[in-house]
Amino acid sequence: MVLPYHLVKVCGNAVFAARGSDIHSFTSTLEYVSTWKYPAQQREESNGPSAEAQDSPAPEGPPAKRRRVEPGQGPASNGHRADSANGQPKSKKAALYDVPANERPFVQGLYATTDGRHLVAITGSDKTIWVFEHDGAGNLKQLSQRAMPKRPCSLALTPDNRTILSADKFGDVYSLPLLPSTTTAATALSSAPTPSGSEPPLAEPKSRSETPSTPTTTAAFKPQADELTVHTKRNLKALENQKISLGRRALQEQLNRPQFELTLLLGHVSMLTAICVGTTTTTTTEGNGGGEGRKVREYIITADRDEHIRVSRGIPQAHVIEGFCLGHEDFVSRLCVAPGGKDKILISGGGDDYLFVWDWVRGQLLGKAGVLEHVKGVVGQEAASKVAVTRVFACRWEAGTGVFVVVERIPALFRYELLSDNTLHHRETIPLPGNPLDVEAIETSSAATPRLLVALYPSEATEDNSTSSSLMALDKEEAGWRQSKVENLPAGGSDINIGETELQKILYSTESLRKLSDFD
């Protein structure tokens, strides 16, 4: 089984593309540069910055439910990938890929800082956020690896490029510094008021430092019930047992805590699917200094499986909900703040038949643009009854704003245009020789339109066209779209023992967010 590229990200002058659990880098002209491989074995000793945040050592047994991919002692049989990134020789991969498909740590997200100096990646089942330094030419140096309490679904970076916002499957948004400070213990408390004041002198780095809105519950675990609230004999006995096992629990808690700075900002009681940062700029005439000033406010916009889009204030007031953008009737899977001076416009897509255009500052729906109707144009009227939008990507396009949309399992890219009156219109459907998985724009100074880079899952019909067709560049020319495959892709990715159905499960995971209607 040949793995396709499933994520692409432009970072400075380089382009990164993820295939399986590896990240390949290319120049902006799409020449292959290098590869970062998912480390074959998680080492326990710290070793320079690459082990900045390692797992808790877990002396006895697996730390329950912490990481699904444990470096079990798999059969160290095949010697593929002898050159893994941190010099760890082989062995681990085989073991990793023997676990069920959905537990393989595929790269689930790639994010770049606006200055192009750092790349951030999420890997799936091991819940890890990776930060890389980018030298500008496509070479990555791994700076940190942090395993989150729950699986991150989407990340955003604050405009100052210093903080990662991680939205997870459990509904919580955490902030963590892009570059972990060396003196974690001292800074971790931030400005959080500690209500109890019972903060112990921090022997370990203050883990899971909580939001201003969360009290620091450092007290040892106590049974929550007492003899007055428990009425049956059996429950009394259970209470007793609970008290006995206190010590063990405390130890477990200790082990389960992340060992790095982590602040809970906000949360939904629902799986989060997307997060982005919006900014507003207002001119103030008052203010401290007097005279005119520009006040830039940051907001955190989060979307969940239960149709909500929430707008919260940015750090440090993330506990204040400014509003909601409500109107979706199925899950929301993608958010996109319009670029180029249209930063009050948010485009969202998901399981509904439409894209929604919002004034997110006022929580107002401005309009909708059909998706299903255009999908039907690709696959036929009967073949499509619902859509799952997997990408909404906006960029400069000619004189205006182009919005590119990817729909799960649909072999086409849909181009919309966001007009100056903030209406969104479908402009064209670009058929592709496979199902697109991700899309990015590579800015070129010469052309009126940026070049598009599409990661796609080649359909079987084009199997004869060699295996390297999963990265494709699209250039808009007068005659139409010129599609060119990226040649000379690095080898590898074909030695992975994964079935077609398993792979599809990983690559096409958005539709599964839909709720079953006949379920109670």
Binding site: F170, S213, P215, Q224, H268, V269, Q317, L326, K368
Partner: protein, 291 residues
């Protein structure tokens, strides 16, 4: 086998009883034994919930029929439509019938509705809504309200209470707009003793932000529980939340709602019977800081 049949009979009886309660226009109070349901519900599961996509699309008229505003059909449209010009797609779905007031008091996890019923006559001009996740229990409260309205037709009582089946942990903002509520009651919530179930608690750092969103500045969250540690948990989480401050004890005891909450909730009565303790704490929604 025999047990099975008995079970079936019981279920049948239940259904018959409840069908009768709905059908006939009787003003007899419903009996709890036909509406019992397991005390816990998983707030994370999808259930089969009905909720509006947006508070503006919530149809309150069936809950508060006496407050429906009679408007001529054609006059309704211009006022009800949002300011923005709708494009070719339907931006403004059919507007529900409007009622003359907004709901201002919510009882989250109202259970069998003791608090609602006790509060209703004390604030006759305020709309009170109970929210409960369990279907049968919600039906009980519906039938109870219906019966009470019929019994007190002349006094026009209980027209200001309603109940909804809802998962408030997920869908509170679907029902209420920002700063719509003045009081939120959280009475004897499920304690969720296990540490790993704490996220299911109705009071948490992240959920408190949603309560702050639906409450207007100066609005009050009322909490009561018989579990000391849960009380402590709720106090800690609300006090640590920058949008709330605790209401001082003196003011708390002067609030007539507190007395009602202590004595009139079903759970409160049960705790009374067991001679348990009742812990009360009130929290005031503060103004948001400058931004």
């Amino acid at each position: 086998m025999g047990g099975d049949r008995i079970k079936k009979d019981k279920r049948q009886k239940r259904e018959d009883y409840r069908a009768a309660m709905r059908k006939e226009d009787i003003s007899e109070l419903p009996r709890k034994k036909f509406y019992r349901q397991r005390a816990h519900a998983n707030p994370f599961s999808d259930h089969q919930l009905i909720y509006p996509p947006h508070p503006d699309q919530m149809d309150w008229s069936s809950l508060y029929p006496h407050y429906v505003v009679d408007e001529p059909q054609d006059q309704q449209t211009p006022a009800a439509l949002p300011e923005t010009a709708p494009s070719d797609h339907d931006l403004a779905p059919l507007q529900p019938k409007r009622i003359s007031k907004d709901v201002e008091v919510a009882d989250i996890g109202c259970g069998f509705g003791g608090l609602l019923i006790a509060l209703a006559p004390t604030m006759p001009d305020t709309l009170i809504l109970g929210l409960e996740i369990r279907v049968s229990v919600t039906h009980f409260v519906e039938d109870r309200i219906k019966a009470l309205r019929a019994q007190n037709q002349d006094a026009r009582l209980y027209r200001n209470v309603g109940v909804l089946r809802a998962n408030t942990m997920k869908f509170l903002p679907n029902f209420f707009r920002k700063a719509q509520l003045s009081k939120v009651f959280v009475c004897f919530p499920d304690p969720h003793f296990k540490a790993r179930k704490h996220k299911q608690r109705i009071v948490s750092a992240t959920l408190n932000s949603e309560y702050a969103y639906v409450l207007r500045p100066g609005g009050i969250v009322y909490t009561i529980t018989d579990v000391p540690d849960l009380h402590e948990w709720m106090v800690q989480h609300f006090e640590a939340h920058p949008s709330f401050e605790r209401v001082p004890e003196q003011e708390q005891e002067a609030d007539p709602c507190v007395g009602i909450m202590r004595t009139e909730t079903e759970e409160g009565k049960k705790v009374e019977r067991h001679k348990g303790q009742k812990h009360v704490a009130l929290f005031r929604r503060l103004e948001d800081p400058a931004w």
